[in-house]
Symmetry: C2
Amino acid sequence: MNDTKLIDIAAALGISVTTVSKALKGYSDISKTTRSRVLEMADTMNYRPNANAVNLRTNETKTIGVIIPATVHHFFSSVLNGILEEAENRGYLVIILQSNEKYELEKKQIALLLQKRVDGILISLSNETDDFSHINAAIKNNTPVVLFDKIAKMVDCSKVVINDRKAAYDAVTYLIEKGYKKIAHFRGSYVPQNSIDRFLGYKKALEDRGIAYDPSLVYMCDHNSDFEDGYVCAKKLVEDHKDVDAVFAITDLVAIGIIKYLNEINIKIPDQIAVFGFSNWFMSTVISPKLTTIDQPGYEIGHRAASILIDEIAQIKEHLPVTHQIVELPTHIIERESTLKTVEVPA
Amino acid sequence: MNDTKLIDIAAALGISVTTVSKALKGYSDISKTTRSRVLEMADTMNYRPNANAVNLRTNETKTIGVIIPATVHHFFSSVLNGILEEAENRGYLVIILQSNEKYELEKKQIALLLQKRVDGILISLSNETDDFSHINAAIKNNTPVVLFDKIAKMVDCSKVVINDRKAAYDAVTYLIEKGYKKIAHFRGSYVPQNSIDRFLGYKKALEDRGIAYDPSLVYMCDHNSDFEDGYVCAKKLVEDHKDVDAVFAITDLVAIGIIKYLNEINIKIPDQIAVFGFSNWFMSTVISPKLTTIDQPGYEIGHRAASILIDEIAQIKEHLPVTHQIVELPTHIIERESTLKTVEVPA
DNA sequence: GAAACCACCGAAAACGTTTTCGGAAAAATA
DNA sequence: TATTTTTCCGAAAACGTTTTCGGTGGTTTC
């Protein structure tokens, strides 16, 4: 049990705990000589301050809490990497919790984090969440909160997002400009807002280019917005609409399901049907044809959210006014094979 | 600042903090009536015990630390999900750290976790780590450690692993029994042990079946054992060996790189060359042809490791003797298209 | 009616720090 | 030499709990 405390160092040196503590923290009213004696003794005795005692006394834990709604995969693992990197750099520890898209669990976890006295909270809201009193409680408790990805506009705190509507709008506009006429959309369920926004971007792009919006071209992938969804909806799509020439999927996973099905039935991508994904996950470069998609900067989202949170923690500590930021990270189109028609060689 | 403490409840009720504390913790020397009064008042005042004070007093934090060597992706995200799930169920919080395969960072992070007084540590070692004094320091400090995936045999603690050598042996044996004669291996670098073990399993399987081991059929994927590695080594392979008929890759990622290349140059999988992966990551069902692979149960590894750790924490608390376990989780072959030759239709 | 017992409560110490405040000795000034 | 200033150190309180130990007052026992 290698557990030396201030009092042990003090005893070994024949001085008081006060002096030891001050020496370690670099107080100016300690002489050079005693300071160096303390430092050396602390080193040889392998002293590590008891974080609990320090936390209790100083009322800060150098720890932030992160709540993500879903399993650590795909998008959220990138976000997490961004958070972990920034936290490491700034000297913070991170506690991770999963709400599994459940409001009650999310609420309980916020309470838990507050009880643990984390210095701040990063959260992407669950799909069920439509009451924000637990978030406001944290904020009122002087614990800053930064929302990312799945946010609530009405909560007064910093947020880091992408513009889903614009990104979808850009994607569909791109397809139209490439000459595609009949563009289907494989959408997500009615929650969260992100899936609605992507749908709205799709619709707006069509309307702005004078293409009539046709509800029968919109397929709901509400299973899990996953691979299977794309596969089965693609099947329905080609049965319903012989002449569709492109599809914009809410997610790369869905898009890959589509590609899989079209490959199986020998429909040429993109010559017969083009496929456009969303997120730029790893698999999108692995599939054949490689998937055109929207780059969703998960790592940057996490990095930025953590950075803002830690800034706010510092501001609160200094009793400075905290200025909330709404950061909208840019997305852009990653053009790959699934929308690039092979050039016709003139005869 | 919604921050009620024991003393506030005591004041509101005109009793002592002692009584409040005991009532909340269900001590038997508090009358039913005062207990219920306290409980109700605690509820209306929205009392949450200050975890730091509790931790300091009780010397336990209900928190475990997790150190993973690489980015949260693929295998480690599954492990993480298993850990998070078990921790949630058992009432533990989890702090995540990434060592980025650096020994020095890993060492620093262990010290940090001990300083934070986590109740236990879960760690998969970095590739650089060949000195284990930091791990032993934690154990000596009465903080149980469970090693998973990348372990060190010499450290005296519980471990959760798969048998890489056997899994590889099984894979190659499977290929041989399927009739493949000239089987290449795309191996990982000389660290960690897992990659060596998979190589040894490959070699042993060949020898046991009377196939001479040919070093020129082994390619080193030491870049990152990733997609690119597989792609470029596949290119070399088909140039070097016209007659190779199967390849066993250290990782699904590498295998997918191989498939990608073979698809591009129109080599039929598996009719000309079969491909066998390792890990059963998500993409292996997405690629064409679907990849035969070894199922590496990341979720179970995390789940099990966390479970053992929390058990040991309880044992230590009760001053019971701790019994270390070495758990070897079973793997099995997931047979898919990449090794299933299309049956010849008899004329 | 004294002795023994029980049910209930609270004072106080402890966990390991940080920080305020005052005080002693040494140095500088007069 | 007497006074002021500077330098350095330590006592003690505080952070919010938990838990030991003792002490009431009331009830039971003989």
